[in-house]
């Protein structure tokens, strides 16, 4: 029996259970915290996002609305923490290169970390000349983003994963039903976001702009953020509350990306705006099969992690991380 009607196909049975699991380790108190990357001086912030209900999608009269933002429906999500910032190259690079990680680590890498699958070295310069320090990591595939989460789990013991599309929108809205968490006024966007109007066509250091009410910086703009979900062009029509919805697929494309980026126009930064991943972003990858790790033509795409308050079992966690990659030609 499926936990909700939004599941289009179950790739791994465990991955469905994951979001309904009631077994469960309950560890930290539900407060903001800083996650250290063990044996380094790198950290990232996590903000608690309380459980709740919201109306997902946009009303028909919202300025700039796209057809795929509806129909609106009430969605409930369980409590989770969300990264206060987009993940930076500083941290992502430790995952990219074991030798580099070992060189800056103050302790030898554990066998688990040592044995992890790491991305292939990208053929191109994946910063696209936009720099690394405190800048968001970009251009990774959803598979790469999930394997990064596995690396984080192996380092920290905490279940980090990508947000579902519902979790992302719920967190971005922070209780608001307007186009943006601060209202409908696009002139206010420059206080909160790097986008086409003010970015000068480059990513920016994380956290330079004001946060949303739930403490999330750059939730709009700077880079788009991976979600966990397959892209379906219409939300399901259901009257009752949709609990922790999640769309899965055995197709590699399209998957959902949220939040707009440094090259997006204002209306693409709306909380309900959806983007779909595209095979074309690997068009210039000269190798076959094409990289399962990199999109050489998606410099606008990054990661923000979440951590559910109730941590599922080890088995369920590994079922999530170990979903088989899909070959791309």
């Amino acid at each position: 029996m499926l936990p909700n009607k939004f599941v289009i196909s179950a790739v791994v049975a465990g991955s469905i259970l994951l979001f309904n699991a009631k077994s469960i380790v309950y560890s930290d108190s539900f407060e903001p915290y800083k996650q250290e990357i063990p044996h380094t001086d790198l950290i990232f912030g996590m903000a608690p996002i309380p459980a709740g209900e919201f109306v997902m999608g946009s009303p028909g009269d919202e300025e700039g609305r796209k057809e795929d933002e509806g129909p609106q429906r009430t969605v409930s999500v369980d409590a989770f923490w969300m990264g206060t910032h987009e993940m930076t190259w500083d941290i992502f690079e430790l995952f990219l290169n074991k030798n580099y990680e070992a060189s800056i680590s103050q302790k030898e890498l554990s066998p688990e970390v040592d044995g992890l699958t790491r991305p292939s070295t990208p053929y191109l310069d994946m910063t696209f000349g936009m720099g690394k320090e405190d800048k968001p990591a970009i251009g990774m595939t959803q598979y790469g983003a999930i394997q990064f989460c596995k690396w984080l789990y192996t380092k920290t013991g905490k279940f980090y994963r990508l947000p579902t599309e519902a979790e992302w929108e719920y967190a971005a809205r922070a209780g608001a039903s307007t186009a943006y968490f601060f209202g409908n006024e696009t002139s206010t966007l420059t206080e909160y976001a790097w986008f086409a109007e003010n970015s000068e066509e480059t990513t920016h250091k994380i956290g330079q702009k004001a946060a949303n009410p739930w403490g999330l910086y750059d939730i709009y703009g700077n880079v788009m953020e991976w979600t966990n979900d397959a892209y379906v062009p219409q939300y399901p029509k259901i009257a009752e509350v949709d609990n922790n919805p999640r769309a899965t697929s055995d197709e590699l494309y399209p998957r959902v990306i949220r939040g707009g980026s440094y090259i997006s126009e204002a209306d693409e930064l709306r909380s309900s705006r959806r983007f779909a991943s595209n095979a074309k972003w690997k068009q210039i990858d000269p190798q076959i099969p094409k990289s399962r790790w990199w999109f050489p033509e998606a410099p606008f795409l990054g990661i923000r992690v979440v951590r559910p308050l109730e941590q599922p079992s080890e088995e369920e966690i590994m079922a999530y991380y170990d979903q088989a990659p899909i070959d791309d030609y």
Binding site: T121, I288, E297
Partner: protein, 439 residues
């Protein structure tokens, strides 16, 4: 070869204009292109790794009726992986490589070339001169990957074979795909038309994190280990200054309309200290001086974690140019005003474009593409840079070009020995600037 760039520039531009214009001298039949009455073009893939397989996909991505009829690789497993990918995605109607047309080993290329009208050469670059010579000898059109050789000896062989290709009117396209990328074509056309005056300086970069390594396994002979881990051995790869940075160096040559007369530079092994990193350097900084005195700085490195930059920038007497592979092409006046800003949205994938052009010319019976000589000259420029950093000395083009040093093994066999071998600790000797002789 003595290069007088200043005088050559006009000729160079004139020649390239003729070539890109697809000038038809007279109607002629294209040797071996396709059987009479058929529009089918038979291709063979020599070198079945990721890039070779990618090139085959791009051949199938053209508008032409392509059949893959033979494959060759030194390793059976590489060939099998490639065949699996191609036959499952393209279908066995077009990937018609029966068991007796799968050729494995050092000599496999000869038989595979014989089966086709057009050959795709995508093995490690050290083999390119041998394979290119054979393809031209057999009268085949060629797509070959860059760089086209790893030492001056190989460069001279490619240039000689290119002369034969010209005489036989065989189209040759080389995978310096920036030459087929709209932002480069459009921006450099404007530079050649004088938009920013004469080019008097520039910088070209390939600063990245490095590439794959493949671990040694106990059953491997030294030859097999080096072949599997080819990136780290000069006879196979030419060092990363050739293997990757040749792209950016080629842009410098394109913009200058010639080749440097000398080079000096610095390089070494800072992070490449392990057992799996062979003999190549991990960084090179080279100053190339052109005949008119213009200096173009070239930088390439493989430093994980460091700042990355892969692009090209030039200064002219009236303005500046900036280009990169992400479809950027910008020209600005010295006062900062924009003169040209390429809109890359509609750029065609340059890897696809080079195949589209090649196969369209072949099917039309045109002789339009002669990339081999200029690609050999740009590869030679990268070898000149390597000579400068390995030796720590100023090296002239003529010295480098005429060098008799031959990096290739004397014999190709799994039990034969390459010229560079590991010491008792498993470490390979590498160049030491100030001591190493490169000429």
């Amino acid at each position: 070869m003595n290069l007088k760039n200043k005088n050559q520039r006009r000729d160079f531009i004139k020649t390239s204009a003729l070539v890109t214009g697809g000038m038809m001298l007279s109607p002629f039949s294209i040797p071996g292109a396709h059987a009479a009455g058929s529009d089918e073009i038979k291709i063979a893939l020599i070198g079945c790794g990721g890039r070779g397989t990618g090139a085959a996909f791009q051949a199938f991505g053209t508008d032409q009726n392509i059949k893959l009829v033979a494959m060759a690789d030194a390793f059976r497993d590489r060939l099998d992986d490639s065949y699996k990918a191609l036959s499952s995605k393209i279908g066995t109607e077009k990937v018609v490589v029966t068991e007796d047309k799968k050729f494995v080993g050092f000599d496999a290329y000869k038989d595979a070339i014989a089966e086709a009208d057009v050959v795709l050469l995508a093995t490690p670059p050290g083999f390119r001169p041998i394979h290119f010579e054979e393809a031209i000898r057999q009268g085949k059109h060629v797509f070959m990957e860059k760089p086209v050789a790893t030492d001056a000896n190989g460069i001279r062989r490619v240039i000689a074979a290119a002369e034969q290709a010209k005489a036989k009117k065989l189209n040759v396209v080389v995978g310096l795909q920036r030459r087929y990328q709209d932002n480069y074509i459009e921006t450099i056309k404007r530079i050649e038309d004088g938009a920013i005056g004469d080019i008097v300086g520039g910088h070209v970069y390939w600063n990245g994190g490095g590439v794959w390594t493949r671990a040694r396994t106990p059953e491997q002979t030294e030859m097999e280990y080096q072949m599997r881990n080819w990136y780290y051995f000069n006879w196979l790869c030419g060092d990363h200054i050739s293997e990757q940075h040749v792209h950016n160096i080629d842009i410098a040559n394109w913009v200058k309309g010639g080749y440097p007369v000398k080079a000096e530079g610095t390089g070494g092994r800072m992070v490449r200290t392990g057992l799996d990193t062979g003999e190549i350097f991990d960084h090179h900084t080279v100053r190339f001086t052109y005949a008119d005195g213009t200096v173009i700085d070239s930088e390439c490195r493989h430093f994980p974690g460091a700042f990355n930059k892969v692009d090209e920038a030039f200064t002219g007497t009236k303005g500046r140019a900036y280009m990169n592979a992400g479809n950027v092409g910008k020209l600005t006046a010295l006062n900062g005003n924009s003169l040209y800003d390429h809109d890359g949205k509609d750029n065609i994938n340059p890897y696809q474009q080079e195949h589209n052009k090649l196969f369209a010319a072949i099917i039309k019976g045109e002789y339009a593409y002669e990339d081999a000589t200029r690609s050999a000259m740009s590869t030679m420029t990268s070898i000149l840079g390597r000579n400068a950093t390995y030796s720590g000395k100023e090296i002239s083009w003529d010295e480098a070009f005429n060098s008799k040093i031959d990096l290739m093994p004397e014999k190709f066999a799994w039990d034969a020995m390459p010229k560079v071998l590991p010491d008792e600790n498993g470490l390979y000797p590498h160049a030491v600037p100030g001591q190493t002789k490169v000429i």
